[in-house]
């Protein structure tokens, strides 16, 4: 810590005026002053480290629209299986009767700062922003040094199976990929009503 105020400078370091005037100050005084500084200074967060995070092996969910029917006298039958697992309940209202598939994409960029306290959503989940569309998302990550991708892949396959409940009672799966050394999946961000917890408990 170099001196910014000449009146307080002693040997190149900043000391409180009461100590700098005292000619018998010791290392303990200095340590005391540093402790005082850490208690009184606001916590510094490394915000400047932030860069856009480029996701590797990127896959994003995309709605698959059935092709338009040919104009014939025959009734049109969809080439897609008409199971209960269609987008009727969730995005069905926006995309009609279509299913979602997970497709590779060229680029996925995130504004992702997991070191900030406000980004933490508990457990493996962190808040981030998808650059495309400036959409708030939740990133769920598994440390690849401890886990293989099977847990992430299982969760993705389950989300794909229950896609009719997306935006109904299950968040919309946005995609999956690798962030640095973490297997990750990306989900829609849901803003929680905290007051309900107080009511219920």
């Amino acid at each position: 810590m170099f001196a910014s105020n000449e009146s307080l400078a002693t040997g190149g370091y900043v000391l409180p005026s009461t100590l700098s005037q005292h000619y018998r100050f010791t290392i303990s005084h200095v340590l005391y002053w540093f402790t005082h500084l850490t208690e009184t200074t606001e916590r510094v967060v490394e915000r400047d480290l932030a860069q856009l995070i480029r996701v590797m092996d990127r896959y994003q969910t995309k709605p698959v629209r059935p092709p338009p029917p040919n104009v014939t006298n025959q009734p049109y039958t969809s080439p897609f299986p008409q199971s209960s697992n269609t987008g009727a309940g969730g995005y069905g209202q926006y995309y009609g009767n279509c299913t979602f598939s997970l497709e590779p994409i060229d680029e996925l960029l995130l504004d992702f700062k997991p070191w900030l306290a406000e980004s933490r959503c508990g457990g493996r989940a962190f808040r981030a922003t998808l650059i495309e569309g400036n959409q708030q998302i939740v990133v769920k990550s598994w440390d690849s040094y401890k886990h293989d991708s099977s847990r992430r892949d299982n969760e993705v396959s389950i989300y794909m199976r229950i896609q009719s409940l997306w935006n109904v009672c299950v968040p919309h799966l946005i995609g999956k990929g690798e962030i640095d050394f973490c297997h990750s999946l990306f989900l829609e961000f849901v803003k929680v009503k905290l007051i309900v917890v107080e009511f219920l408990q």
Binding site: E155, V168, V196
Partner: protein, 85 residues
């Protein structure tokens, strides 16, 4: 809105949500309050399908019934206004 009404409302929605998930032959595998979110508009969101499994057939129905009873126990506590975490 009284707290009792809200508890009932939340519990009913959670029950319905899990019933829908079970209809798709999926068991959640980790039913607990931490995996249920109440959004600002009071909608219910089920999270964390890491332990979920696809189950089918009569054996699958056993798993679904087991989880349904787990959900019922959780909801009873919510309806009674007891701590459930």
């Amino acid at each position: 809105m009284s707290s009792e009404n809200l508890s009932d409302k939340v519990a009913n929605k959670v029950e319905k949500a899990f019933a829908e998930i079970h209809k798709l032959e999926v068991i959640h595998g980790d039913v607990r309050a931490a995996n249920i979110l109440v959004a600002e508009d009071e909608s219910i969101w089920i999270l964390d399908f890491e332990s979920a499994q696809v189950v089918s057939g009569s054996r699958g129905q056993v798993f679904i019934d087991g989880e349904a009873s787990e959900v019922k126990m959780l909801l009873d506590r919510i309806r009674r206004g007891e701590p459930y975490c």
